[in-house]
Symmetry: C2
Subunit: 489 residues, 2 copies
């Protein structure tokens, strides 16, 4: 054939087979059950939205369409959703007359980011979110944070192996006000935000560069900085890298003063509001029992998405010695996202689990989330004219709950057993002419056979004997019972 | 706010909430369990593929990108998958060295069609497929057809409410050979194929027009026809609308001769091959017990996708009197799809359930697939300073397996009860100042309350008494037991 197409997929997209193919679904099922129990309603919106409805809030300003996959359709631009929050805002605005207020919803599914392809960086991944739309109360944030803990645990992460780190965008805003970054310097503020969001990855030195003139990365790409002065940079960095023992208002204020003894928290200033809101949230989480190490104040948390307006949180996996093994979810309050449509403020808060990232992490942490799916029993196809008989054996096995398949094709016994081996099959069911005449089938225990063959090595006599050990002939009518017996041992 | 965005979604995309939002997942779980039991391995590929890897096999030649959503990325074109078969072909070619042969896989997920938007026509919908790659045997087709029956039943359709209709592209090809349509008239053959695929929807008269000069639809759009002569059209239509009592080779040949007594089936011609393959498939299905009405020969079945090369099948829902309520799935053999990549023929066959269409049909047929999810118990927020107490009540209820939520916000009792009503809540849990002092809570049975209020109408005295009936005050420690009791009655 001329003009062959190369069988390949674009970078940043992956294939998964078997148990790995349902990893996201298993997590969504466990997490979704928790969201449901907390009164959240499932919402399913489509992958495609009007580009304008989604808005552009991603950090990837240097990418086509700012990190979003977009295409033109009948003269309007459509995009693949980059998260589940922007579609929720569109839905909440479209249906605002019909929804209970507040509206608690959960959602799950793939999202797409047109990121710079790189090793291990996926451009399609699953999220599983819970959000409360229509409540400005810190109780709504506290509930979401507590729920995030329950969700991460339901997915299989034990207490002690994760932490919900909480801060507030308003703390950062208060700080920027104090160091003299103008409130209307939108672009500069975004650059600062995204620099701080990289603290984990780049460390203070890298972030210092991004807050100043800019930074050249390993690939040689230069990222422009926020152009702050050293006098502005150091207090910001100091605050972001400080830790509070207790998430009380006093502790936050103490941090604040450590940054600079000149800094005062003016009543009703944005910093004052931030401190009071956080105090309310932590009071409630204390009452609910979540301040046992699961939820922590962490002033380095800012989150990369532009639309957050208040409390922000991040779920981090914790390894030995308290090491941060990376974020598996995050969220925060976004009081202006729905207002893009309605013109009126509709306060909202929510949390998103990075399901694909969490699935990978669970495997790395050795937490087996695989289903009980076993490899199938293989019925060999000994005679092309008798496929109906083989299908009947498989049907009997399936009716008894045993996973089974018939070999398809005209290969000889050796090739068929090789296939069974590739399928990791525990048992091969064989009914050749001899067995047919006697009304029997031969069952080969492939696992035992492989073990004996390995143990016995070159001892041909013992090997021949072992083959007998690893197989048995039973009446056709007893095949199901015999297979059940062999599988159980 | 100036410049408000309209909260709307593109045509052909929908939102679902609550139980409807998980309809696809419920079907996939049931069908997937059957596929697994038959030895198929789950495969998850991404939504986005190289446009060239997907190929263009959709009937929508008049749509942008021939019905596929496409976008440019780093100078290459990417597309959203329009089915799960084309990505499988890419995967099977890419991984051919590592896969067992034959390779049985199942897959599920959304696919996208850039169709002309119209009422009820979705541009995003779910499919759930099972395919066998690497076997040319009619046994593989028979297995897929039998599996399709099991899958449709697992999804909730009873025997007698569906039929698997089977034919072969090769029958049609044989017929076209006989009426003198050149084998290399690719475009004309496609037009004939797609005309016949519309037999259900347009009837013989509409298809006759499409086989001839063309057809103007209700909207005034004109579709060009295949330009066949009447002498060519009538035998084709007659064959497609004939029915065979029994799906035996003889019966098929009888149909063939009915079309025209001049038509001979030349040994080893394509028609001869078609008849023999179908006979083998039906023999096996007979042996497996599926010819009890579940599987039928139907020469009107051609399927719209271009890539089929042999047997084709369609799952139709059957209403009273045998009425065809529409297709909920289809498939067939496609022996050349993988060869686009490999250059060597890799025979394959498979079946796809239209999950979204089936979910809609199940609702229309009154087959309730909803989960057991109940409406939540609502804990009212009587005092903003005591949210922790209300969260604690909700936590106790959840720990006992009861779906529960706390009202968020500062509204009065009336608004909160209205909210509970909107949530369809069975019970409201109230702890105001009086109850707090006594260490009790009040439980309102909202269903009973609503019933009594309705029954009693204007009788205010009886109504006041009924309110007592519909609520009870219990010690805080007994709230879970009392709620359980009320939910059980």
């Amino acid at each position: 054939m001329s003009n062959l197409t190369t069988p390949e997929k674009p970078r940043g997209f992956i294939d998964r087979i078997g148990s790995a193919a349902s990893a996201e679904e298993r997590i969504v099922r466990a997490v979704g059950a928790v969201y449901e129990k907390w009164g959240f309603e499932r919402l399913e919106t489509s992958a495609i939205e009007f580009t304008g409805a989604l808005g552009k809030f991603l950090p990837d300003t240097d990418r086509p369409n700012e990190g979003v996959f977009s295409f033109q359709d009948d003269e309007k631009w459509l995009s693949l959703r980059y998260d589940l929050t922007a579609p929720l805002a569109r839905f909440a605005a479209e249906e605002r007359q019909n929804l209970p207020k507040p509206f608690r919803r959960w959602a799950a599914g793939p999202v797409w980011r047109n990121e710079k392809p790189g090793p291990g960086r996926l451009r399609e991944f699953w999220q599983c979110d819970a959000d409360t739309v229509g409540s400005a109360s810190p109780a709504a944030d506290a509930e979401i944070i507590a729920l995030a803990c329950e969700a991460v645990e339901a997915a299989g992460v034990s207490r002690g192996n994760y932490a919900l780190k909480v801060s507030s965008r308003k703390l950062l805003e208060g700080l920027l006000e104090l160091v003299g970054v103008p409130a209307d310097a939108q672009a500069q503020r975004l650059t600062i935000l995204r620099a701080l969001d990289k603290l984990d990855r780049l460390g203070p030195q890298g972030v210092r560069a991004l807050l100043g003139e800019g930074r050249k990365d390993e690939s040689g790409d230069f990222t422009k900085g926020a152009k702050l002065s050293a006098g502005q940079i150091e207090p910001i960095l100091k605050f972001a890298t400080s830790t509070a023992e207790q998430p009380t208002p006093d502790a936050i204020l103490r941090l604040w003063n450590e940054v600079s003894p000149d800094f005062e928290v003016i009543p009703d200033s944005i910093a004052d509001t931030a401190v009071k809101e956080l105090a309310q949230i932590f009071d409630l989480l204390q009452a609910m029992g979540y301040l046992d190490g699961r939820v922590q104040l962490d002033t380095s948390i800012v989150r990369g998405l532009e639309y957050y307006t208040g409390p922000v949180f991040e779920a981090q996996l914790i390894g030995g010695g308290g090491a941060n093994l990376g974020s598996v979810g995050g969220g925060g309050r976004y009081d202006t996202l729905v207002a893009r449509f309605t013109g009126e403020s509709v306060p909202a808060t929510g949390f998103s689990i990075g399901v694909t990232r969490l699935a990978t992490a669970l495997v790395q942490m050795g937490i087996d989330q695989a289903s009980e799916q076993t490899a199938p029993v293989i019925v060999l196809a000994m005679d092309a004219a008798r496929m109906g008989d083989y299908f009947a054996i498989a049907a009997d096995l399936r009716a008894a709950g045993i996973r089974a398949e018939v070999y398809l094709g005209g290969s000889g016994m050796k090739a068929q057993l090789k296939y069974a081996d590739k399928r990791d099959a525990p048992i091969a069911v064989i009914q050749g002419g001899d067995e047919l005449a006697k009304g029997t089938v031969t069952l080969k225990d492939l696992k035992l056979g492989a073990k004996l063959a390995k143990d016995l090595g070159e001892d041909r006599e013992a090997y021949a004997k072992s083959r007998e050990q690893a197989q048995r002939e039973v009446p056709r009518a007893e095949v199901v019972a015999a297979v059940q017996q062999m599988l159980a041992r």
